[in-house]
Symmetry: C2
Subunit: 342 residues, 2 copies
DNA sequence: CTGTTAGCGCTTTCAT
DNA sequence: ATGAAAGCGCTAACAG
């Protein structure tokens, strides 16, 4: 079934020259006569010759391929970040191979392994929600493969990272609710193992403390980010003797899920309960009422992560020092948190 | 900067055996003593040996990698389809490398080339909106690289394809509008070069004819699917002496964009103008009013496309015959097209 | 300017 | 059961 693809040897034979000469002609090496080069190029075109990058990579110990491992592409956050990353990498002549962990630790490990086996030159990743053991990434690091994390990063890894000021962003979101007059503000948090969950929770706590609000454990409830599971956490809040009048959600998909449930139950937003999300997903401005949220520069995160990776790859490994870039969030106030209307 | 990764030669030397033996031990070849194998495996583990898949691919003329080239991951349609495809390919031991054309013809060509140079074993693709020249895919085919198209397929290529019954789906959507009492039904179509645009347009025409509705050219307007450009096409419709009372849109993102514009202008949906989309994107059930749409089995499309590709790769090239699978759509009636409410 | 040689990491005959 | 040798497609010294 394998019909032979033309190689430089085929070209060399047909032209009666050596394969090195063909190689030189093809790569644009200076030491080659215009004449020979022309003949090679013409024949290559005629045979529809296509270089075998694998062989090249084997020789060069470089594949000019990068890998990206993200939880899931269906989430706008990740597909946008990837788009930003790809922009930067492709401009630099690298191909970015995208893998989804599907929020599964085991798949994440498998993805990382598959990429490493294919000798990719670097990896950019955001952890699956299940990941606590980061041995697979340590491994990558130990092998000297550049690694950059973004969004869901690990505190235990000394690598370059790109994050936003989650804590401040969360603070601003909750402060906004407080200033808007809400009194009993709940937090629907993410899995405790994720740093972003912790940071956003801390931002929430900071705001309450700053404004002398009591901190009540029953108002803080977390869930594992599984589609459809926000409902369970939400119910805990709704079943409270004193129901909250505002909920700050870990991210937009969560807030949107909550909004749907509240609407079905006839609970008015923002009059009965106000809602704030995090990320500014496209859907957030579409839904009714539109969702107040903490916007992140998503595409930029991807771009910066990719740039850090390229810098590390192209730089001197000896003097490389991991760097953490913290991008700025921006509170976007919409109707889900403003009683009188906006 | 390249710190040497352990190879089978390193293992062989350290154990005082030949690299062939190491290879056999590692691949589980029958002709090897349990004893030797055990020693090899242990040392491999200790050195954290990782096979170099590139070298293997070079020898085997097979990379166990597949490529996917899609317009953009931010569109739920494509990220879901890819998810379905990845499910199938990874179960079969293949890694799926995902590339975005960003709806650009040139990027699509570059993606396809990059994948081919990396010796991927097959490609699954959906055309960019700009693509009319399919020479790059013909090329792939000529080289004997299996190719499967889905969704945005080309009529001029003899390859396996996965589509839905776009024409019937569109017919049902428009029939629904007719039966719901709408009299002046417009169609906001996609680029004319895309087969799906043509098919959906034909479904629209079929329905009008079936119910003896006049076909008016001014009610049919197309645009290039660029974000934000639906507005222009919509304006042509709104500026008509007799404004339509219903619009069947080429897809959900378009319908959603239209809905936003109509709402801002104070046009009531569905009372002044009814709206129907195509795809059942997640946002369609979130927006207000919820969007009537023609649902496609998106994940299944990806799965089927991947399966067709694997079948072709693993099957006998001589007796391969391209196959077109047509999956079924399903009309989902929501509030954007039902006057009395639902 | 061009050819020769070696080698990237691995599998696979063919011997032994 | 193991080793030696050839080779996948390409680049990179080293000669000339």
């Amino acid at each position: 079934m394998k019909n032979h693809q033309p190689t430089i040897i085929d070209i060399a034979k047909e032209l009666g020259i050596s394969k090195s000469t063909v190689s030189r002609a093809l790569t644009g090496h200076p030491n080659i006569s215009k004449e020979t080069q022309k003949r090679v190029l013409e024949l290559a075109k005629k045979l529809d010759y296509q270089k075998n990058t694998l062989a090249l990579s084997l020789v060069k110990h470089q594949s000019f391929s990068l890998g990206a491992v993200v939880p899931e592409l269906i989430a706008p956050f990740f597909s946008l970040a990837i788009t930003g990353a790809q922009e930067v990498t492709s401009r630099a002549g690298y191909t970015l191979f995208i893998c989804q962990s599907n929020e599964s630790y085991l798949t994440e490990v498998a993805n990382v392994k598959a990429l490493a086996e294919r000798q990719i030159d670097g990896i950019i990743t955001s952890l699956s929600k299940e990941t606590t053991d980061i041995e697979h990434l340590r491994n990558i690091q130990r092998k000297g493969i550049p690694l950059v994390m973004f969004n869901r990063v690990s505190a235990d890894l000394e690598v370059s990272k790109v994050v936003v000021n989650d804590r401040e962003g969360a603070f601003q979101a909750v402060e906004h609710l407080i200033l808007a007059g809400y009194k009993r503000i709940a937090h629907l948090a993410g899995p405790k193992n994720l740093l972003i969950s912790q940071n956003r929770l801390n931002g929430y706590l900071d705001a309450l403390r700053t404004y002398n609000f009591p901190i009540e454990d029953e108002l803080i409830t977390s869930y594992d980010l599984s589609k459809g599971q926000a409902r369970v956490a939400l119910m805990r809040l709704l079943d409270l003797p004193q129901v909250p009048d505002a909920i700050f959600c870990i991210n937009d998909p969560t807030a949107i899920e909550v909004m749907q449930i509240l609407k079905v139950r006839g609970i008015k937003i923002p009059d009965d309960i106000a809602l704030v999300g995090f990320s500014d997903d496209p859907a957030s401005s579409l839904i009714e009422p539109s969702l107040t949220t903490v916007a992140q520069p998503i595409i930029e995160m991807g771009q910066v992560a990719a740039q850090l990776l390229l810098d590390q790859i192209q730089g001197d490994a000896e003097k490389f020092v991991p760097e953490t870039k913290v991008l700025k969030t921006k509170l976007i106030v919409r109707r889900s948190s403003v009683k009188g209307g906006i």
